[in-house]
């Protein structure tokens, strides 16, 4: 990822970083906050490069010298990374890092560490990081990467400068999935799914998502027209296709996008998740009030929340379908 490309994707952020490097006003701690795919990881590496790069101009690294290459390959001894060990970043990991930082820099005297998925830090790991974040003995820069800064300890938040990354454009993401060989229809849906959901499905999802999509359309029209049939479809098809909790979560997302599309129809605008279903969307939009759409969206979001609380899948879906019927 080139700095110049990043400047196109995240203009505000990159200007901020460039200004800080240029003016020699880098903070000792940053929180990079942004959705998956907002390329905050790349931005963090680029910033590290521009700190170490000998040929840095106007705050931009050259991206070709040994320093830049070593940082890109994780071989720079003074640029460190912390990744979650399993599900979380443990206290022992922070301590190991801390220990590393009681030493002077291996080469430059400046040290940079990037904490990936910083929100997965356990409470004690986070608290351990605190002191160290605030009073590094030598020139040190911490970059905490997270999708949601709200999940970090407030005391950490207040010690760091927060940089918010704009979410990637839907069109960019859609184009990306099309390049991966997805049909336009399923690419549009995939682009809307949060990446953490997608992570496990990248490969085999192609067919699966197409079928899931068809199921959503079927279910919706049954909810509208043949309520009894809908419950049957749930039992026979839906729950067979969206088997476990994770898959069902995606199914609910797909449903949610449908209702969001209905809203777009009524508000005459926006990008559609089901652009080839305009006929259906339009006719349904005439028979459902905006408020009912909103209520339906809330039912689905509610269902998603309850799904996390280990509610029985079938019960959850049946209840949802009944709710949706009232709303359509």
């Amino acid at each position: 990822m080139k700095w110049t490309e990043m400047e196109v994707e995240q203009p505000t952020v990159m200007t901020m970083l460039r200004q800080a490097v240029k003016k020699d006003r880098l903070s000792h701690a940053y929180i990079f906050e942004g959705m998956h795919g907002s390329r905050k990881e790349e931005a963090a590496l680029l910033m590290a490069q521009s700190i170490f790069c000998a040929r840095q101009t106007e705050g931009r690294p050259c991206e070709s010298c040994v320093e830049c290459k070593r940082i890109a390959h994780g071989n720079h001894p003074d640029v460190m990374f912390l990744h979650p060990d399993g599900d979380s970043i443990k206290k022992a990991q922070v301590e190991a890092l801390q220990k590393e930082f009681t030493y002077k820099g291996m080469e430059a005297g400046t040290k940079v560490y990037l904490v990936h998925q910083a929100d997965t830090m356990t409470a004690s790991a986070g608290n351990s990081l605190l002191k160290f974040l605030e009073e590094p003995a030598s020139p040190t820069m911490a970059v905490l990467l997270t999708e949601n800064a709200h999940f970090l300890l407030p005391t950490i938040q207040s010690r760091a400068q927060r940089i918010s990354f704009a979410p990637p454009l839907l069109s960019t993401r859609t184009a990306y999935f099309q390049e991966q060989g997805m049909s336009p229809a399923s690419a549009g849906l995939l682009a809307r799914l949060p990446d953490e959901t997608l992570a496990n499905y990248e490969e085999e999802s192609k067919e699966w998502i197409v079928q899931g999509r068809a199921l959503v359309i079927q279910l919706i029209s049954e909810v509208q027209q043949r309520p009894q049939q809908a419950l049957l479809t749930l039992q026979e098809k839906w729950l067979v296709h969206f088997k476990d909790r994770k898959e069902l979560d995606i199914g609910l997302d797909l449903l949610l996008f449908w209702y969001r599309d209905l809203l777009s129809v009524q508000k005459a605008g926006g990008e559609f998740a089901y652009p080839d279903q305009m006929q259906k969307l339009e006719s349904q939009a005439l028979s459902i009030t905006e408020q009912e759409i909103a209520a339906s969206m809330q039912f689905i979001l509610d269902a998603k929340r309850r799904l996390r609380a280990n509610v029985n899948n079938q019960l959850l879906m049946e209840q949802l379908v009944l709710h949706l019927q009232e709303g359509s």
Binding site: K131, T289, A294, Q319
Partner: protein
């Protein structure tokens, strides 16, 4: 990278420099002067309010070569040694990374040995709430019988996690959130010392975003100044905080107040495009409302407003809104806000929440079933059962509907208005040409859009007035309107004539009720509409087509824009 963060450079070095904690600093100063300080202190309070700074100042003051003093001199060997960390008798312990019994036992063993360089050993235990139970017990032993030469200062953001046996052995000081005024004063001082320049509004914005934490405030100021070209402007601050301008907040609240859901959804859209955080935005809206509430109940007390700067829009909104409305909307938004934090689709959540809130706020909704349900989410089985019952009833109703032709006359107050609407006779489908043309002439896509957006609500109203009416009309589609007349296109002549002759009133009054506008309906068959549309189109010069193409279906347009003509099959 020799730059040091502002909040570290400007950490207070004397008690009198500590902003907004006079109730504590006064007491401490007196205690220090009279050498009546305690052997154990507990400093609690939110982040960035000066707990650790105060602890360090005390460590210096009691060890200062000029002691007893109200303030440390920061000049003598002891003070300087403590500041640069070269004095080994002031021990800062980070309880978070040393929360084991071993570490506290280590303190216990060593607390007995006399201080080496200065008169008092000072143990500053930060984040003390992180100690394990065993460690707390070990600490308790030390606090029970501390040697004369030792002072313990415990600092924490979460005092409720500390055992009472510890708390009761300490002198406790609660640090308060720093007021916006104290924050701005301090920042303005620092700005002048750093020889920077900043807009007053920018400083205000920072102070309000900092939520009472000095460190937050200075971090933001730092960030703003490194981002700003020259003078720190409010735009710079908005860019770095990811917040939206107060104007934007006011607009959003105004649209909620007006029940204008489209505006609210547009606001959500713009927010996302600007890369702002929906959760943060929601929080800001809530705080704005909170401040409206405060302003309404306690006018003229600007200082206690949390976030808002009092401007015209704020005054206007506060004047407009009813107290009960604010409560209602706050309540509604707050419920959504709690769940939104955990949602993976914050944008959709935001849109949904804004729409729901707009409806609740305008009160123009009969409490929809959806609303009821959303408030009850537990006792699943009961709900399910009830729902099924309701559903069955509904089904029965639908079955009965065609049979029972009784058209309940709507006794509502709408009746006189309905009559006020211009009524022209002639309901023959083919005799409508004049009106159709007239309608097309003045038709606008926006107006149609507005109507179709609410069409479902209209239909629902119709259903309430007349179930059969609803059945007849459900086949129709609004195709054009000029603001006075509405063209409805039907698939089927029988439906058309039934509606035209029997249910016109029901429809028109429903439209009136939902949109607040009276429209005269003109009915047509689909084929006729297509023909008229074509004729009209042919009359128009090609260049003007864009503006005067009322017959073009906006949905189709939109779809074509998205997927291109090839993909889209238009069935009418």
């Amino acid at each position: 990278m020799g730059y040091q963060a502002l909040y570290r450079v400007w950490r207070p070095r004397q008690l009198k420099d500590m902003a907004g904690q006079e109730h504590i600093t006064k007491t401490l100063q007196n205690a220090l002067e009279q050498e009546k300080f305690s052997h154990a202190y507990l400093f609690s309070g939110p982040r960035g309010t000066g707990k650790t700074s105060a602890a360090k100042i005390i460590a210096k003051a009691i060890n200062c070569e000029h002691a007893p003093v109200r303030e440390p001199c920061n000049e003598c060997r002891a003070c300087r040694g403590i500041s640069d960390g070269s004095v080994v008798d002031v021990i800062e312990i980070d309880a978070a990374s040393n929360n084991g019994v071993d570490e506290i036992r280590y303190i216990r063993e060593n607390v007995m040995s006399a201080p080496r360089d200065i008169s008092y050993k000072v143990y500053i235990i930060d984040e003390v709430h992180m100690l394990s139970t065993g460690a707390f017990n070990a600490l308790l032993k030390t606090l029970e019988e501390p040697p004369k030469h030792a002072v313990f200062i415990l600092a924490t953001t979460e005092p409720h996690k500390i055992p009472l046996t510890i708390v009761s052995r300490c002198q406790r000081f609660d640090f308060k959130r720093i007021t916006t005024k104290a924050l701005t004063d301090r920042m303005n001082y620092i700005i002048s010392q750093q020889e920077w320049a900043a807009e007053e509004e920018a400083v205000q914005l920072i102070a309000r975003a900092a939520e009472g934490g000095m460190r937050d405030a200075l971090s933001l100021l730092d960030q703003a100044s490194s981002f700003a070209e020259d003078t720190i402007t409010s735009d710079d601050v908005l860019a770095i905080t990811g917040a939206v301008s107060q104007r934007f907040l006011a607009e959003t609240i105004r649209s909620i107040l007006a029940g204008d859901t489209s505006a609210a959804v547009r606001a959500a859209d713009r927010l996302i495009q600007d890369g702002k955080d929906p959760v943060r935005f929601m929080e800001d809206v809530i705080y704005y409302l909170r401040d409206m509430l405060v302003a309404k109940t306690a006018p003229n007390v600007d200082e206690i407003l949390d976030r808002v700067m009092v401007d015209d829009a704020f005054k206007e909104l506060t004047g407009q809104a009813e107290l009960s409305w604010i409560y209602k909307v706050l309540n509604e938004l707050n419920t959504h806000f709690q769940q939104m934090k955990w949602s993976s689709h914050p944008k959709i959540f935001l849109e949904m929440a804004l729409i729901q809130t707009a409806y609740v706020s305008s009160g123009r909704t009969e409490p929809a079933q959806g609303r009821e349900v959303s408030s009850v989410s537990s006792d699943t089985y009961e709900r399910l059962e009830k729902k099924i019952e309701q559903l069955e009833q509904k089904l029965n109703k639908v079955k009965e509907a065609p049979a029972s032709e009784k058209t309940e006359e709507n006794p509502s107050s709408q009746a006189p208005k309905r009559k006020a609407a211009p009524r022209t006779g002639g309901s023959q489908a083919l005799g409508n040409d004049g009106k159709v043309r007239e309608t097309i002439q003045g038709a606008s896509r926006e107006k149609l859009q507005e109507l179709t957006g609410q069409w479902a609500a209209v239909m629902q109203k119709v259903k309430q007035t007349s179930v059969p009416g609803h059945a007849w009309i459900s086949d129709a589609k609004p195709v054009a309107t000029n603001g006075e007349k509405l063209i409805l296109a039907f698939q089927n002549e029988m439906h058309r004539s039934m509606v035209d002759t029997k249910f016109r009133d029901a429809i028109e009054s429903s439209i009136q009720e939902v949109t607040g506008r009276s429209l005269e309906t003109v009915t047509l068959l689909n084929q006729q509409w297509e023909k008229v549309k074509q004729e009209y189109k042919n009359q128009q010069p090609a260049s003007e087509e864009k503006e005067s193409e009322p017959e073009k279906d906006p949905f189709v347009d939109e779809a074509i824009k998205l997927v291109g003509e090839d993909l889209l099959e238009i069935k009418d």
